[in-house]
Amino acid sequence: MNAFVADKAQTPAGPDAAAEPEVLLRVDNVSLAFGGVKAITDISFDIRKGEIRAIIGPNGAGKTSMLNVINGFYHPQEGTITWRGRERRKMKPYEAASQGIARTFQNVALFKGMTTLDNIMSGRSLKMRRNFFWQVLWHGPAEREEIEHRRKVEDIIDFLEIQAIRKTPVGRLPYGLQKRVELGRALAMEPELLLLDEPMAGMNLEEKEDMSRFIIDVNQEFGTTIALIEHDMGVVMDLSDRVVVLDYGKKIADGPPEEVQASQAVIDAYLGVSH
C-alpha cells in the first residue's frame, strides 16, 4: 500500500497541479434545516476537478446531509450550489445523475435479487438511448446498444476484479464485495463527480486496502473527481488531497490533510470538549 501512496506524493494533485485548479463544484453559504433542526449551517467549500476531497466529522455532523445536498436529494433553504460554473436550480436526483454526479450509499442499496452484472448494467440505464419500442423489437439497434454497454460494464468488472461474482446474486455476497459492486454501479454512469458515503464502513483491513486502491485507481485512470465521507482517519489522510471537517452542521476546518490534522478545532471536535 505504501508504494502507491508514495507515488501519489510525487504528483500531488494529478495532471492539473501546475495550472490554476478548475473548480468543479462550489457550495456557497448553504444552510439546511428540517423543521427546527439545523443540519447544515452556512457552509461553503469547493471541489476541484480531479481531486479526492474528503468530508469528515463526528457522528451527526451533517456529512451525509451535505452529500444529499450535492446530489440534489435535499434542497438547501439558503445558499447556492455552482456546478461546472453554473448556479444550480432546484432539481431531482436523477437530473443530478444525468449531469454526471453518481454516488454510493452508507448502507448498501443494491438490487439484492439481481446479479452483479445486472446491478452494474442498471447503472447504464441513463445512457440507454433506444426507447421501449426498440427494446421490445430487440434485434438490431437495441441489441447493438446493449453489447456496447456490456463492454463498458465488463471493463468495470475487470477494473474492480469481480469477475468471479459476475453471475452471482448480490444478496449472497459478503458485505465488502457488495460495496465494491455498488462502486461499480456508480462507475457505470461514467460520472464526473463520484460521491462515496463511507465506502469502507464495516470492512476489514484487507478490504479497506483493496477499496483504497480502487478509489485511487478510479481517480487516476478515469480522472474522476471524488468526494468521500469516511470515518477511518488513516484512510482519509492517505487518500485525500483536501479535507473539509464538519461539526454540528458547521465547517470547522478545510485544507490539506496535514493541516487539518493539526487544527485545534478538529482535535476538540473529535476528542470532545464541553460546548
Binding site: A3, F4, D7, Q10, T11, R150, R151, E154, D155, I157, D158, F159, E161, Q163, A164, R166, D217, Q220, E221
Partner: protein
C-alpha cells in the same frame, strides 16, 4: 509397448523451431485462449507466431542478448508464455518465478539468476521488482502486461508489453529481411542449449535454479504425449503456477510439441467456472483440488431434495461396484453394466459436467498422496484419473500409471526412456533424457544430486513392487529403523492413518526404538459431527479427544492400519503398537506445524518428550501440561491426563494373506 520419441527424429528440437513448425502445420488451429471481459479471446498458432516474433524483436531492440536471463512473474497469461519463447528465440533464458512468493525470496532468486529483463503481469509485480532494485543490480528493464495504475511511473526502464511488440512490428515493417534474420537466429540453436531455469522451492535452504535444456523438455514432453495419446485436439487449463515444472511441461512443452490449445482462466477465482466452460481433455491437479471438488459435491448433495439424494446414493453404489472395473476393462455383469449406463445419464454425466470434466481423456494428480476414497470416487465415475511421480530435476516424468494398471498405493511404472533403481539406503534413483543439466551456480549441489553417470537422487525412499510399480514411502532422510532392524517409514504410517476422515494428524515415532508409537489428532469436524449424531456431549477438543467411544473408534482405525501393514512384507515389522490421542490440536501458532500444515517432527519430539517416554514405558496414563498460544498472542496452559492404548500385532502369516485376498 509404448514407443518413445527420440531427440532428433523430427528436426524441431527447440521451442522457437517448434513454434514455426506449428504455425505452418496447425496455422489456423487455436493455440491459446484467455478469458477477458467475460469472453474467451483466442489466438491461432500463426497469430501466436506473429505475436512472439514481434515481442522477440522488440526485446532484442531493447538490448536482450543470448545468454541473458529474463524473469517471468505473474499468473498464467498467454503473453507470459509467449515471452518465454520470444526470449528463447534470441537465445535468452526465461526464469519463471512464483508470483506470490515474498519479496525477500523473490529478490534472492532474481539476484541469484542475474536476471537482466523481467516480464511481469501488473502493477503489483512492478512495485515488487522496483522495491528490490538494490538486491537485483543486474535488472535493466521491466515489461508489464497490464497497464492499470502504472501511467505515472517513470518509463525509462519500464515498458508496456504492447509497446515492445509495436516496436518489434515497426522494425519488421522497416526491413523486409528482418523476419528471415530472426528465424536464422534460432535455426542454429541446439537441443542441448538451456531452455529454462526453474527454481525449486526446497524445503531446506535456499531455492536452487534447475537448468533444463530443450532436449530435456522436448523429449520428455513428446514421450508424455505418446504415452497418453495426446494430440493437437487437446484442451488444457493453465492455472497452476508458471514457475512450477508441471505447468511448464503441461502448458508449454507438451502444448507446443503436440500442438494443443492452452486456456488461461480469467483470474484465480473464476477457475471453477472457466473449467466448466472449457471442459479440458487433459487435466492436471494436485490432490487438494480433487478433494475440494468432492467436498463441494457432497455438501450440495446434503442440501438436495430427497429424490435426488436417493438417486445419487443408489447410482454411486453402482459406480463403486462396477465403475472402476468398467474403466479398467475388466469383467462386469450385464445388470451392472446396464445400471451403470443409466447412472451415466442420470448422475455421473451431470456430475462430470458440473466439475468441467466431461471431456477429460486423461487426468493426473501428483505432488502428495491422494486419499484412496477420493481417487476411487473419480475413477468410478469413469474419469481416467491417474497418479504420476515426478520432479523438476526430471522434467516432471519419473513414473506414470499406465491405462488399466491403476493401483491406489503406487505411483506407476517408469515413464518411457526412464530407468529406475533403488539405492542401498532405499532411496529412489532415476536416469532419463529429462534429467536436468545442473543447478545454476551451484556445482556442489549438482554433484550431490546427480552422479557422474547420470543417475539422480530423488530424496524419496521407495520400493518397486512385484508388478513393476513404484511405491513411495517417505522422504529418504526420515526413514529409520526399529531396534529389531525393521524398516520404519513414519510418513507412510501417518498417511495411512490420515486417510481416515476422523484422524486429522498423526505423528509416528520408532526410529531406534523397539516398536512404533503414534500421537493422533482427531478431526474436530468429522468426529464432532459423529458426536452430534450419537448424542455425545463435549465442551472442548480436549474432552472429545479423551472420550472412551472416540478412543474405541480410533483404536479400530489403528487396527485396520496394522492389518494393512501386515500384508506388506517390507512394512509388516513397523506396525503401531501403542497410540495416544493428543489433548490439544497441533497448531502452527505453537510451532508444531509449519505454515503449510506439515508436522515439525523434531519440535514435537522436544515438546512432548514426556508423552513419548510414556509411549515406551508401558504406562496406561500420563499427566501433561502444555503451554499454548492463543490466536491473540496470549499464552496459557492446557493440562490433561492422556490415556495410552496398546495395540495387537497382526501376523503376516499365510492365514491373514488368504483372508485379505
Amino acid at each position: 509397448m509404448v514407443g518413445s520419441a527420440s531427440a532428433s527424429s523430427r528436426g524441431e528440437d527447440t521451442f522457437p523451431k517448434i513454434l514455426m513448425h506449428n504455425a505452418q502445420v496447425f496455422g489456423s488451429r487455436t493455440a491459446f485462449r484467455e478469458k477477458d471481459f467475460g469472453i474467451w479471446q483466442s489466438w491461432t498458432w500463426s497469430e501466436v507466431a506473429e505475436e512472439i516474433r514481434a515481442f522477440s524483436i522488440g526485446l532484442q531492440s531493447l538490448g536482450l542478448k543470448a545468454g541473458d536471463k529474463i524473469a517471468i512473474v505473474g499468473a498464467n497469461r498467454p503473453q507470459l508464455y509467449w515471452a518465454m519463447v520470444a526470449a528463447q528465440a534470441i537465445g535468452a533464458v526465461p526464469v519463471p518465478v512464483y508470483a506470490d512468493s515474498v519479496a525477500e525470496e523473490m529478490a534472492y532468486v532474481l539476484g541469484h539468476a542475474e536476471v537482466v529483463f523481467a516480464v511481469v503481469e501488473d502493477q503489483e509485480q512492478v512495485d515488487k521488482l522496483l522495491s528490490m532494485s538494490d538486491e537485483v543490480p543486474s535488472l535493466k528493464h521491466v515489461i508489464y502486461d497490464e497497464a492499470r495504475g502504472l501511467r505515472d511511473y517513470d518509463h525509462t526502464h519500464l515498458h508496456h508489453y504492447a509497446s515492445v511488440q509495436d516496436k518489434g512490428r515497426a522494425l519488421l515493417g522497416q526491413s523486409a529481411s528482418l523476419a528471415g534474420e530472426w528465424e536464422q537466429g534460432f535455426a542454429s540453436g541446439k537441443g542441448a542449449d538451456i531452455a529454462v531455469m526453474l527454481y525449486t522451492s526446497g524445503t531446506t535452504g535456499r531455492p536452487k535454479g534447475v537448468m533444463l535444456s530443450f532436449d530435456n523438455l522436448v523429449i520428455s514432453a513428446r514421450n508424455g504425449n505418446v504415452f497418453d495419446n495426446l494430440n493437437e485436439t487437446e484442451e488444457v487449463l493453465a492455472y497452476l503456477p508458471m514457475a512450477w515444472i508441471g505447468d511448464h511441461v503441461f502448458s508449454l512443452a507438451q502444448a507446443f510439441t503436440a500442438g494443443y490449445c492452452v486456456n488461461c482462466p480469467e483470474n484465480m477465482d473464476t477457475i471453477d467456472v472457466d473449467r466448466r466452460e472449457i471442459a479440458p481433455t487433459y487435466f492436471f491437479a494436485p490432490p487438494r483440488v480433487f478433494e475440494t471438488m468432492l467436498t463441494m459435491i457432497m455438501v450440495n448433495m446434503e442440501d438436495a431434495g430427497r429424490t435426488k439424494r436417493a438417486m445419487f446414493d443408489f447410482f454411486m453404489d453402482v459406480a463403486r461396484r462396477a465403475g472402476e472395473k468398467i474403466l479398467n476393462g475388466e469383467q462386469v455383469g450385464l445388470k451392472d453394466r446396464l445400471l451403470y449406463k443409466l447412472g451415466e445419464f442420470c448422475v455421473y454425466g451431470p456430475l462430470k459436467n458440473r466439475m468441467g470434466l466431461t471431456r477429460m481423456k486423461v487426468g493426473y494428480t501428483a505432488g502428495e498422496a491422494i486419499g484412496p476414497e477420493i481417487f476411487q470416487f473419480y475413477r468410478s465415475l469413469g474419469l481416467n484419473l491417474k497418479q504420476l511421480y515426478g520432479q523438476t530435476e526430471a522434467s516432471v516424468y519419473i513414473t506414470l500409471q499406465p491405462d488399466g494398471e491403476i493401483h491406489g498405493d503406487t505411483v506407476g511404472k517408469p515413464a518411457p526412456d526412464v530407468e529406475l533403481k533403488i539405492a542401498e539406503n532405499g532411496e529412489v534413483m532415476y536416469r532419463s533424457p529429462g534429467v536436468f543439466v545442473g543447478y545454476f551456480k551451484n556445482d556442489e549441489a549438482t554433484a550431490d544430486t546427480k552422479t557422474p553417470d547420470g543417475w539422480v537422487h530423488t530424496g524419496d525412499a521407495g520400493i518397486i513392487a512385484d508388478n513393476g510399480h513404484l511405491k513411495i514411502i517417505d522422504r529418504a532422510k526420515d526413514v529409520g529403523k526399529l531396534t529389531d532392524g525393521a524398516l520404519f517409514a513414519p510418513k507412510y504410517i501417518e498417511n495411512k492413518l490420515k486417510f481416515f476422515p476422523n484422524i486429522k494428524e498423526a505423528v509416528a515415532f520408532g526410529h531406534e526404538r523397539d516398536r512404533v508409537g503414534v500421537f493422533i489428532n482427531i478431526d474436530l469436524t468429522a468426529v464432532g459431527s459423529w458426536a452430534e449424531r450419537n448424542n455425545v456431549n463435549y465442551a472442548s477438543y480436549q474432552e472429545l479427544a479423551a472420550h472412551p467411544d472416540v478412543y474405541a473408534m480410533i483404536e479400530s482405525h489403528v487396527d485396520q492400519v496394522n492389518r494393512d501393514l501386515s500384508r506388506e512384507p517390507m512394512m509388516a515389522g513397523a506396525q503401531v503398537r501403542r497410540f495416544l490421542i493428543l489433548h490439544k490440536e497441533l497448531d502452527a501458532d505453537d510451532g508444531e506445524l509449519t505454515r503449510t500444515q506439515k508436522v515439525r517432527r523434531s519440535f514435537i519430539a522436544d515438546r512432548y518428550g514426556p508423552l513419548i517416554e510414556a509411549l515406551y514405558d508401558g504406562s496406561a496414563k500420563k499427566y501433561v501440561k502444555t503451554e499454548v498460544t492463543f490466536e491473540d498472542g496470549r499464552k496459557g496452559a492446557i493440562e490433561a491426563t492422556v490415556e495410552i492404548r496398546d495395540m495387537a500385532r497382526h501376523d503376516a502369516g499365510p492365514a491373514t494373506r488368504e483372508a485379505a485376498e
